[in-house]
């Protein structure tokens, strides 16, 4: 399990409460890195666990941080919610150095979180987890009719899409007209 702690800023992360421990202590001390999401909570993750993410792995190999530097500069993922990042970190720790199983039953079932997770995992380039997540998304609509799929995935119909587009155009037109009127007023 990864450890987490509320941090105040990305520049000065607080000390994590516990460190992840592997069952057998490795001969060479394992290096750790720090990541935080939108909520600024810092997660301490081992380099082994982070290897799942092609994005972070690439960053690590390019930066060549020391333990202190890594602690002082956690990787910021401002576009990922804290709880979603926690899920990703947990998954990476769980599957550290292990072959990935064909199914993962621990993925969230709520559609809102699942879509956020898909986006996060895609951003972090975790291929195996992305496959599981997409499978889970596909399972949500297994055996469902088009109407049911529309409801579950909140897909707008073509008519709704068109109406929304018209509305947006109308609004943009009004705004543009307002802006020209204001500009003309200013000029006077």
């Amino acid at each position: 399990m990864s450890s987490t702690e509320q941090g105040t800023s990305s520049a000065a992360p607080a000390e994590p409460t516990t460190a992840p421990e592997s069952a057998a202590a490795p001969e060479v001390p394992e290096s750790f890195y720090y990541v935080h999401g939108k909520d600024k909570v810092v997660h301490k993750v081992s380099a082994g666990a982070l290897q799942h993410s092609a994005l972070i792995h690439g960053m690590i190999s390019n930066l060549g941080y020391t333990e202190e530097q890594a602690k002082a500069n956690p990787f910021p993922f401002e576009n990922i919610d804290g709880d979603i990042l926690q899920m990703v970190v947990d998954w990476c720790n769980q599957h550290k150095g292990k072959p990935t199983p064909p199914e993962d039953t621990n993925l969230p079932k709520q559609k809102e979180k699942l879509f956020d997770l898909v986006l996060a995992v895609n951003y972090l380039e975790i291929k195996e987890l992305l496959t599981y997540c997409c499978k889970q998304v596909a399972m949500m609509v297994k055996g469902k009719s088009p109407e049911e799929i529309r409801e579950i995935w909140m897909i707008p119909t073509d008519a709704e899409d068109e109406a929304a587009e018209k509305e947006a155009k109308k609004r943009a037109g009004k705004e543009a007209a307002g802006e020209t009127a204001a500009a003309a007023g200013d000029a006077k």
Binding site: E112, D116, L119, P146
Partner: protein, 521 residues
């Protein structure tokens, strides 16, 4: 909070790749954007079956061993169509029925075919066509099966191993008899046969014409193999081939399944192979396969006979290296030689029906198969043989094709092993089964007939769902491992008709009988 619309096109495609056929169809209907995403995502279908009969149409789509969709589109008495749909179940009680007042069964079939398969991204392994009519093959079968003394002829000729000496056996009395009997067929019957054949071809042509012109779109299956059944001719294959994409189309296979109470799994398969036939300028391999579920049929005689009379050569494949296979392998007299790390070969020369032939026996860890090659077809055979040996050296594949569990894909192995079940599971659509040539008291036929009655009864009891109660489409049931075929209760007749002694029954049949005893039948 993110939703489906927040995903990028690539991510959406990643999800669509994991959807099943009906999931894709449903998603296509949600919006134009999603439709184009679905149409751009690759989809693999193992097998599609299209059956046409007087009562209507049947489309079966197998995506995996345990995932299939079955749609029956039948004639409605007062116009319109009745659609019976089931998923992953052969039980008529699981069928969802819907009545459509408008459109003909043909229209709905073509519409479904377009919606299911008409995209460049949908790749199919095999498309199977079945149509009522065609050639009157049972007569041919009767004619062939009538020569039970054919074996004498074969052994007699194979005694002469040397081709030079074999000319003495040129004139075989029995071979002459075979030729005479073919000529004896009454003239009016021949005319009737030709009429039926022409009528069937016209029907196929019209159907294809409508398919291709439906909504002014050209429809094609992107499939590797076209599969027909025993009542088809090469001419019909050529007509069906108009629906195939020639970039993917590689072979034609014609299937006949000869069922018997001895076993529900095939014992031996007899093929006629035409390595390359010309289909509208394309060279396509053509194989006609007959699956025997008993050793009581003259399979061995058929093997030699077909090798001599066909335009190519014949091949015999044993599904297991059992006593019969061992017997045949031991009887082959040619010297053994190792032709590849996995295959041992024996070659013997002889004559059959006056024609010089070479019999090639192959044995590997997978099993045993053999070829009969007429002398004048040796050039064609060599091309086939060289490409087979090349594949063997590269991939280690044997010559048993879909009869080998190791060298073929799981779907094909499972599909062909369970073909005989169709007689009981889909009694209204079992065109692939060769009509039995038995006497009127044949229990195998009785069993199939009773299965048909039972099936129709169950279908008749179904309540037609109104639109508002319609179950959603899609593979709703979760897959639970490989296909386990459930045999309907009518199969209790297998017990009555079963082999004379317990030892004669196959392990499969024995298991079935035991399970039926356990549930008190």
């Amino acid at each position: 909070m993110a939703g489906w619309s927040d995903l990028s096109v690539d991510l959406k495609k990643n999800v669509v790749e994991k959807l099943d056929l009906m999931g894709r169809q449903s998603l296509r209907c949600t919006s134009h954007a999603d439709r184009s995403i679905v149409d751009d995502t690759d989809f693999h279908i193992s097998r599609v079956r299209l059956s046409i009969s007087k009562s209507g149409y049947l489309i079966v789509v197998h995506t995996r061993i345990d995932d299939w969709l079955r749609v029956e589109i039948l004639n409605r008495p007062n116009g319109g169509a009745i659609i019976n749909k089931s998923q992953n179940s052969w039980n008529p009680e699981d069928v969802v029925t819907k009545e459509l007042e408008e459109g003909t069964p043909e229209f709905w079939t073509i519409l479904l075919l377009h919606n299911f398969f008409d995209y460049g991204t949908t790749k199919i392994d095999a498309v199977e066509f079945e149509i009522e009519g065609g050639t009157d093959a049972p007569k041919g079968v009767i004619f062939f099966f009538a020569f039970s003394d054919f074996q004498t002829l074969e052994t007699e000729h194979l005694k002469s191993r040397n081709l030079k000496n074999a000319s003495k056996h040129n004139k075989s009395v029995k071979a002459q008899k075979v030729r005479q009997d073919t000529k004896k067929a009454p003239r009016h019957e021949k005319c009737k046969e030709v009429e039926t054949l022409e009528k069937t071809i016209t029907e196929i042509q019209e159907f294809i014409k409508k398919c291709r012109k439906f909504r002014k779109k050209t429809f094609i299956f992107r499939a590797k193999t076209l599969v027909g059944n025993w009542n088809m001719t090469v001419q019909m294959d050529l007509v069906w081939a108009q629906l195939m994409d020639f970039d993917t189309f590689k072979s034609v296979e014609r299937l006949s399944v000869s069922i018997h109470s001895d076993s529900l799994k095939p014992f031996v398969c007899c093929d006629t192979v035409l390595p390359k036939i010309d289909v509208v300028g394309w060279k396509i391999s053509h194989v006609t396969s007959t699956l025997h579920h008993t050793y009581k049929n003259p399979w061995k005689e058929g093997f030699y006979y077909l090798g001599v009379v066909s335009d190519g050569f014949s091949k015999l494949r044993f599904s297991k290296f059992d006593e019969k296979a061992q017997e045949m392998w031991d009887a082959a007299e040619g010297g053994m030689r190792q032709i590849s790390p996995t295959i041992i070969e024996k070659r013997e020369y002889g004559r059959c029906m006056g024609k010089p032939i070479t019999v090639i026996h192959h044995r590997s860890d997978c099993g045993y198969w053999a070829f009969v090659v007429p002398y004048d077809k040796e050039k064609d055979f060599k091309l086939y043989y060289d490409s087979f040996m090349k594949e063997n050296r590269e991939n280690g594949t044997c010559g048993l094709s879909w009869l080998c569990k190791t060298c073929t894909n799981d779907f094909d192995y499972n599909y062909y092993q369970n073909l005989a079940h169709r007689g009981f599971l889909e009694p209204n659509w079992n065109g692939v089964l060769v009509k039995c040539t038995c006497s009127s008291t044949c229990a195998t036929c009785d069993s199939v007939k009773l299965a048909k009655i039972e099936y129709s009864k169950k279908l008749g009891n179904l309540k037609i769902q109104k639109n508002e109660n319609q179950k959603s489409w899609g593979f709703g049931k979760n897959s639970e491992g490989p296909e386990e075929v459930k045999i309907p209760k009518n199969v209790i007749f297998w017990r009555k008709i079963g082999a004379n002694s317990e030892s004669e029954k196959s392990a499969d049949l024995q298991k079935l009988v035991n399970s039926l005893k356990n549930i008190g039948i």
